[in-house]
């Protein structure tokens, strides 16, 4: 069964772009949220959630099933996605 992939990113962050590009290139379907494009209140809710999951407010954050990957890490992405 395909695991749900969720990406939290910033629209201005180069490494977030690379992560999205990597997923696109490997035809991995994913949901994504550009946190900086949300309204302030909404962004804060998401930031608190990200901090709860990762312990910090760094981007990108990729959730693959129960796996949490912070930062652009192709090796971990490949492993978690079985590529």
């Amino acid at each position: 069964m395909e695991r749900k992939v969720k990406v939290y990113a910033l629209s201005t962050c180069p490494y977030c772009k690379r992560t999205k590009r990597f997923l696109d290139e490997h035809k991995v379907p994913y949901e994504h949220t550009d946190v900086d494009m949300l309204d302030d209140d909404e962004a804060e809710v998401v930031l608190v959630e990200i901090e709860k999951i990762t312990g910090r407010r760094s981007f990108p954050v990729v959730l693959i099933g129960s796996e949490v990957i912070v930062g652009h890490d192709e090796e971990r992405l490949r492993k978690a996605l079985g590529l």
Partner: protein, 133 residues
């Protein structure tokens, strides 16, 4: 001349740097802390630097090049993407804040306070991967 008069306030890194003998009002200088190009202006008995080309892409390009030269840092292959991100931050949040953080306060204006404070020496790179040792 008082110590205050002998220093120039930089509106980017919010610090004061040493006024060099021979400088005059209207001269263009580079902030030795953050690399910003500034025009000297006397204000109330002390010196202030005004940003030469505020809020332009040229400003952040010049500032980052100057900062890298001052510290002996280099850029990586994400340089142009980071510049694009910084310009995006300026458009949406009003100034050149770190493109990889959700922090839009003066201390996170590029080069941010942690970077000016030695993050590149400690980690080999700044948080955004713009400046590298």
């Amino acid at each position: 001349m008082t110590a205050e008069q002998g220093r120039v306030y930089c509106p980017v890194c919010l610090a004061r740097f040493r006024f060099v003998d021979g400088w005059m009002e209207g001269d263009e200088v580079v902030c030795p802390i953050c690399g910003e190009r500034l025009t000297l202006r006397a204000e109330g008995g002390s010196w202030v630097g005004d940003r030469v080309a505020p809020m332009t892409e040229a400003e952040i390009r010049d500032r980052s090049e100057n900062f890298a030269k001052l510290r002996g840092y280099r850029f990586s292959d994400v340089k142009e993407d980071v510049i694009e991100g910084l310009v995006g931050k300026q458009r949406r949040f009003g100034d050149f804040y770190c493109p990889c953080r959700m922090l839009h306060t003066p201390e996170y204006q590029c080069p941010c306070k942690p970077t000016r404070g030695g993050d590149v020496e400690r980690n080999g790179r700044c948080h955004c991967g713009f400046f590298w040792k």
